[in-house]
Each structure stands twice: as C-alpha cells, then as structure tokens.
C-alpha cells in the first residue's frame, strides 16, 4: 500500500467516514439481495398481482413493474445491482408500489420529521430525568429513596416499551377513560390544516403526549441506573476527595467535578440511542398510529411495498451509523484524554 493511502487511513475523520460508507454499502447490498433472492421474488409477485387485479397482460404488467422498480429485470444480477447502487448514489430510492407513483424518498421526507420530533423530544426528556435521578440516587446510595428507585428503574427498563404502550391505551384511553382515545392515536387531527397555527401546534403536542410518556417511562430507568453507577464510581475517585480537601464549594464539586466526569460516558450512549430509537419506533408508532418512519416501515412490510421497505430500512441504518460516528467525534471533543488523530 502506498504511503499516501496509509497516511489517509491514519486520519481520524477519514476513517470515520470510511466506516459510515462501508456500513451503508453493506446494508444496501444486503437489502438488495434479500429482496432479489427471496423465495417468491417480489417483482414477480407484483407482476402477478397487477395481472390479477388490473387485468393487465403479462407484458404490460412487466413493463409497469420495471418502471416501478427502475431496474432492468432482464439484465444479469450484477448489472441490476450496479444500476441499483448508482440510483442510490443519486438519492433515487425507487417508487412506492402501494401509493402508486410516489417516490420513496418523498414519502420518507414526509414521515421522517414526525419521528424526529417525537423521538428527540422524548430522548432528551428521559435523559434529563434519568441523569438527575441517577445523581440523586448515587448521593443517597443505600437509603430508602435509592433502594426504591433502583428497584423501579430496574423493572421499568426490563418491561418492553410496547407493553407500556398497550397498557397506556387500555387503561388511560379505554378502561379509565382519562384521555380521548382519538387524540392518543394519530399524529394530528385530520380536520385541522397543518401549518404554523397555535391550534395545530397544540394539537400536535396533544397527540405526541402519550407516545412521549411511553418512551420516557421505558427509558429513563436505564439512564438513571447508568448515571447512578457512573456517579458512584466518580465519587470514589481520589480527585473528589482532593476537591473536598481543597474546600471547594459543594455546588462546584457536584457539578464540575462529579457531574461532568460521570455524565461524560453517557453522552456517547445518548448520541447512539438517538440513532437506534428510529428502529425502536416501529412498535410504539404502530400502537399509537403515529405516522412516523416506523409506522411507514410497518405498513410497507404489511403491504409488501418493497421499494419503500428498502428505502426506510436504509434510512434507519444510516441514522444509526451516523449517530455512532457523531458520538465518536463528539467524545473526542468533550474528553480531553481522547486525542483526535492518534
């Protein structure tokens, strides 16, 4: 290998970008071959469904399918693959089968903001709650508050989030009738026109409330437990004893010395969770009929909308890969001990 290549590889950012590219490439390849090599080729299935539902001839249906998948079915597999990749690079994810004619990219652009909105809201809230609780628990470790909360957090992080979602719907929405079921479900009321009106914004928040609570209830426990563990180990560090010996103010010790050191490792997890929660949204969005990207994937799978499925999955993976990469870079910036480029 030439010197320049090795030097390039040693560059921190280049390595990160390379890793993103490789992962996205592998996942897109994977989805391509899964769809192509699956028993009961989706394209054949589509052709036969066109023939039976629309009464087209095989030739017509085939033409239609080709246009839809934007690949030449007669070409050998490797050429199809190259075609698919070059489409991808141009941002062309194909066209949805069920919502006839809509480009997948456009659908994703339509659904993604809702997931981003609900997920980031809940993630920051649960992170904040978890970190605060975790610190208090660590400072009062062994006490009643700590014992009870540790138990609650352990159990909460063991309960699947969709179970909580179902319980919310069943109890809050139906059994006790505390909250209108139609506001619990859906993204916004269909009779209100979207726009920057107070009415719409309030409506959006009313709809996001219960998915939000569900996310938070299921995730704050994990944050709290990690923060508790980190804080306890930080409290045992020599530099905390030294800070006390120095007669520093308690607030300064708590925030600058204990807090900052304990929270540091959590930032990485926070960034990574951000990517992963896109995948987890599948179940919650399904339960609350919240039309984000998870719901889109669910309906695409149910309706065998392969191009959409492929596209959404690719976006989800990219989100994770990007967030992992950002976490890496961020950590290098926050923690002086991790020097970049070495």
């Amino acid at each position: 290998m030439s010197e320049t290549l090795i030097r390039l590889y040693r560059n921190f950012f280049f390595r990160k970008i390379l890793r993103v590219a490789v992962t996205v490439f592998i996942v897109s390849t994977l989805t391509f071959f899964i769809v192509r090599l699956m028993p009961g080729n989706p394209i054949d299935i589509y052709i036969s469904s066109l023939m039976s539902t629309q009464g087209m001839s095989y030739q017509e249906a085939r033409q239609m399918a080709l246009a839809m998948f934007s690949i030449d079915l007669d070409a050998p597999l490797h050429l199809q693959y190259i075609q698919y990749l070059s489409n991808l690079i141009r941002g062309d994810l194909g066209v949805s089968i069920t919502s006839t004619g809509t480009p997948v990219a456009k659908m994703i652009a339509e659904f993604l903001p809702w997931t981003l909105f609900s997920v980031s809201l809940s993630l920051f809230a649960s992170f904040g709650i978890g970190v605060a609780l975790g610190m208090v628990m660590a400072y009062r470790r062994g006490g009643i508050f700590d014992t009870i909360l540790t138990g609650i957090c352990t159990i909460m992080s063991a309960i699947p989030n969709y179970i909580v979602g179902i319980l919310v719907i069943v109890f809050i929405g139906i059994q006790w009738n505390l909250y209108p079921l139609e506001t619990m479900r859906g993204t916004y009321t269909s009779t209100i026109t979207p726009g920057f009106t107070i009415e719409f914004i309030v409506d959006v928040f009313k709809h996001v409330l219960w998915p939000f609570i569900t996310y938070v209830v299921c995730t704050f426990g994990g944050w709290a437990l990690s923060m508790r563990a980190n804080t306890i180990s930080t409290l045992g560090e020599d530099y905390i004893t030294v800070a006390k010996a120095k007669g520093l103010k308690e607030s300064r010790i708590t925030f600058s010395y204990v807090g900052r050191n304990a929270i540091l490792p959590l930032f990485t997890s926070l960034t990574i969770s951000f990517g992963f929660i896109f995948g987890g949204s599948l179940l919650i969005e399904n339960i609350f009929v919240y039309k984000g990207i998870g719901w889109l994937l669910w309906s695409a799978i149910n309706e065998r909308d392969y191009p959409t499925m492929q596209g959404v999955f690719l976006i989800m993976t990219t989100a994770v890969v990007l967030s992992v990469t950002i976490a890496d870079v961020l950590y290098g910036l926050i923690d002086p001990r991790v020097r970049r480029g070495e």
Binding site: I34, A158, P160, I166, G279, M316, T317, V324
Partner: protein, 294 residues
C-alpha cells in the same frame, strides 16, 4: 473409576451445586428470580398436562370474570385464558433460550478469540461486530420475518445471530483485562495447557459476565419475539402470549371493558418473566464470584 472415588467426586459436584443454590438463596433478588423462573419452567413442561389447551369456543361464556373454574376468566370466544397462558409459556421460553444461547455462544467465541489473538484477527472481528451493531436489529428482523415466513427455530437463530456483537465486545474487554493478569502468565509458565487455562483459570472469572449477558440476551429476545408476533410478522400459533395480545388488539377486544383480564394476563406473564430473568441474573452474578460471598 472406583466406586469410592466416584462417590467423592459426586459429592463434590453435589455440594458445589448446593453451594451455588445457597449463594443464590442468600441474595434476595436471586431467590425471588429463581422462584419466578421455577414457576415458568413448571408451566412450560407440565402446563399442558395439568391445564390442557381449551380450544372449543363457548359463545355464551365471553369475557367471564375470574372464578374457580376459570381463574383468569375467559377470552373473546369464551375459552379458558389460563390454559392459553400456561400453554404459551413453552414457546416464549424455548425461542428466547435458543436465541440467547446462540447469541451468548457466538459472543463468547468471538469475544475471547478477539481478546486473546489480538492484532489483525481482533481488528477484523471487531470491525464486523461494529457493522452488525450499526444495523437496527428490530427493523431488520421485522423486514426479514415479514418477508420470509420464518420458522420458530430459524427466527430464534436469526435473533441470536444479530444480537451477539455488544456482548462480544463486553466479553472481549473482560478477556483483555484478564489476559494481562499475572495468574494467566503463571499458568502458561507452569505449562498447565490451554484447556486448563481456558476452563479453570479464565472461565470462572468470565462466568459472572456470561451469566449477566445471558440474562440480558434473554430479555432482549423475549422483547423481540413477542414484539414481532404482536406486529403479526411471525407465523401464528394459536396459543402464544404475543398472539393473545395481537388478537385482543386487532380484533378490537381492547375496546370492550370486560376484556381487561384477557389482555392483562399475557402482559403480566411477559413482564413477570422479564423481571424474573433479571433478578435471577443478579443472584447468579453473586454466586459466581467468591469475592462477593461471605
């Protein structure tokens, strides 16, 4: 082996097992978890003979409240809910056990090879696990099971194959730190052999981590499996907790206020199992670590 020596050896194993149980018993969490798991195991193996599956619809007996005959009431077709809960146990236990076993075995293999060999082998293995780690697993499983009509075993395998990387990384870092310890070096110098080093020196030290990893993998697979069934992506078997929830959900039974027990039963069964596994793993962690014993 003479009878005497055999007896000595047997007594050794027996007393070890008893010792293990004692330490689990000594931790409150461990005891509770152990008892919970015992109940589930009992249901899984003897449930069907004690409470056979009630499949005959009895239209007149829909959503009955709990009674001596039907302790958990009846479902939307007037069938015994308890029999469904009991008979659904095996499925969930079996699949999550297979999945977590596959996951933990792969994790231990990759993690220890990576940690031990180091160098290029380590770099490559870790690169692969990073890539798998970066693929959102639940959506991938949803897509695959939605497309492929997986059997129970292949689904379990798939879950295992997709979930090993994070455990492998944890094991690897453990192996890396253990490898540096002098007692491993001493064992090499005494020429005690690879088998001794792996099974007598290393494994006991890894056991607490493996036990916890196993429990984590199990909760994870229960989550995934029931989630997939609930979404309707996995072939139905009529008696399965996920299917029960799915039915209640899809058929609109949740809107009927009387159906509450039918919906809650599988939910409680799932939550109970998850909590039991977690608590038991805490007890195991203690049991495998002599330093934590008194």
């Amino acid at each position: 082996m003479t009878k005497e020596k055999y007896l000595v050896k047997w007594r050794g194993t027996a007393s070890k097992t008893i010792g293990l149980l004692k330490t689990i018993y000594a931790s409150k969490h461990g005891t509770v978890g152990f008892l919970i798991l015992l109940i589930y195991l009992f249901m899984a193996f003897f449930g069907s003979s004690i409470r056979p599956l009630d499949t005959t619809p009895k239209p007149g007996q829909m959503y009955l409240p709990p009674s001596i005959k039907y302790p958990l009431g009846t479902d939307n077709q007037g069938r015994d809910t308890l029999s469904f809960i009991v008979n659904g146990t095996f499925d969930v236990l079996y699949i999550s056990l297979v999945a977590s076993m596959v996951s933990v075995i792969l994790a231990v293999l990759v993690g220890s090879v990576s940690g031990f060999k180091g160098g290029t082998v380590d770099s490559i293995l870790m690169y692969i696990s990073d890539i798998i780690l970066n693929i959102p697993q639940f959506p991938l499983m949803a897509v695959l099971s939605g497309l492929m009509r997986l059997t129970d075993v292949s689904l379990a395998m798939l879950m295992g194959v997709l979930s090993w990387p994070s455990l492998a990384k944890a094991i690897r870092s453990q192996v890396l730190s253990l490898k540096e310890r002098d007692f491993i070096e001493a064992a090499r110098l005494l020429d005690l052999g690879t088998r001794h080093i792996v099974f007598t020196e290393l494994m006991p030290n890894l056991m607490p981590y493996i036990a916890v990893s196993f429990a984590l993998a199990m909760t994870y697979s229960i989550y995934n499996y029931v989630g997939l069934v609930f979404l309707g992506f996995v072939p139905f078997r009529a008696y399965n907790w996920g299917v029960m929830i799915n039915h209640a959900w899809v058929l609109g039974a949740i809107y009927n206020r009387d159906s509450i027990l039918w919906i809650l039963s599988p939910i409680i069964a799932i939550v109970g199992l998850e909590v039991g596994v977690i608590m038991f793993s805490r007890g195991l962690e203690l049991a495998f670590n002599p330093r934590l014993r008194k």
